[in-house]
């Protein structure tokens, strides 16, 4: 009964196996699409309280696997986010693309990274993203005070390491060799 034998280690199970190229390529995009949809479904909020999960996943994927998502990936991913986020259309395209370019430049300048430097870079980008999101919404007709986004900024910053763990788990699954070659 080969299906039930658990004796073989990871090397035994992965012998003559390769990760599915489709899953390996598509999973980052799918998780970010899902992340853009998720905050809306969780609750009908009376204030901006949930983190922009799509953007956090986007940052996480780019920090964990630089180069996996191309620099222009902010265009399709941001377009999808704009459909559901409630921000003026185009805001996410602009801000996600800018974030991707900034991340790329930071990575070229500071190649050695640790948990805290990555979190620090992400904190800078998250704060800039949320504040500029409010500024763009106000430009498009809202008149919201900057105080209303403070809770969201704190929640987003604190949840970023968790999002990073989630991305790491998905990344392991993405590269699990299960296709026979």
């Amino acid at each position: 009964m080969p299906m039930l034998s658990r004796g073989g280690g990871p090397a035994r199970r992965s012998i003559n196996r390769a990760p599915s190229p489709l899953i390996a390529l598509a999973l980052p995009w799918l998780t970010i699409f899902l992340g853009s949809l998720l905050p809306g479904w969780v609750l009908i909020a009376s204030a901006p309280v949930l983190p922009p999960v799509g953007f956090l996943l986007f940052l996480s994927w780019r920090q964990l696997r630089p180069g996996l998502l191309p620099i222009w990936s902010g265009l399709p991913l941001g377009l999808f986010d704009d459909l559901f986020s409630g921000q003026p259309f185009g805001a996410a395209v602009l801000l996600w693309s800018l974030a991707a370019i900034v991340l790329e430049l930071v990575e070229a300048r500071v190649p050695w990274r640790s948990f805290f430097t990555e979190w620090l870079v992400a904190i800078g980008l998250i704060v800039a993203y949320i504040v500029m999101g409010l500024a763009l919404a106000n430009l498009a007709g809202a008149g919201a005070h900057i105080g209303i986004i403070l809770p969201q900024i704190v929640i987003s910053i604190l949840s970023y390491p968790l999002v990073g763990r989630l991305v790491a788990v998905v990344d392991r699954f993405r590269l699990t060799p299960f296709m026979a070659v």
């Binding site: 479904w41 609750l43 009376s46 191309p70 620099i71 602009l94 370019i101 919201a144």
Partner: protein, 294 residues
Amino acid sequence: MAPPANRRSGFSRRAQYSTFLSYTAGAVAVVVGLVLLALSIVSPGAFASVRSAAADVTAPAGDAAAVSRSFGRHTVDSITGFFTSGREHARLKRELAEAKVRLVEAEATAAENRRLKKLLGLKGTGSAPVAFARLTRSTSASARRFAIVNAGRNDGLAKGMPVRSSDGLIGRILETGASSARVLLITDTESLVPVRRATDGVPAFAQGNGDGTIRIRLINLGINPLKNGDVMVSSGSGGLYRPGTPMAIVTKILRDGATARVLANPSDTDFVMVEHTWAPKETPPPASPKSGGR
């Protein structure tokens, strides 16, 4: 963590070109974003059809999310209710006895109201609701306050129709898709509702603050007559919101108005009711009590 080695272009022309092209594509994405943003700021309705189509497509998942949200809330309520049921039961019995007396009084008032209206020749302002729907999704990560309901053009919804729950006003329809519609919640900063104090009709405007509270701005400046605990109801001025829909309760007095809390918290509602736009068909008589003191 060490930098990935394959990210340096080195002397390879091919690698240099692909790096250059990827940066160019990134810059193009920024420019596209700027153009889209400028378009949507100049004409806010430009992308309404795309957004509505996207909302229609994701409607089934939104329905499932709404059902599970309400299930979760009811489960929590049941568990907490288990611990407080004795006290609640006694209190409810007391309130029921009181309410029965009030009900008889209210019936008498309603009958008198009908008789007086007939005497004046006024038409009844009540009309059938357009649709009952669930709030499926909201923009909880944005500074704007929108929600999606799972009823659309096919159910007779149109732009501007007021949306309310059993507790009070929720918002109004902003964009309609085939089977879903976008609601501008009253807590959004762009939502402006003409209101009056329920007891004596002091007129005011209610504007959302964006953080779940409402800013009440009095129309007649001078001495601020508002007090904590005053209930504001929609006044029907402008012909959009039905007069007398409960809306907010005053929590903090300011110099030229007050800050208020909404009565109908959209996260606590299972179903909402979409009503027809309230536009008086004929000019009301001058002393009509329905004209909201304006």
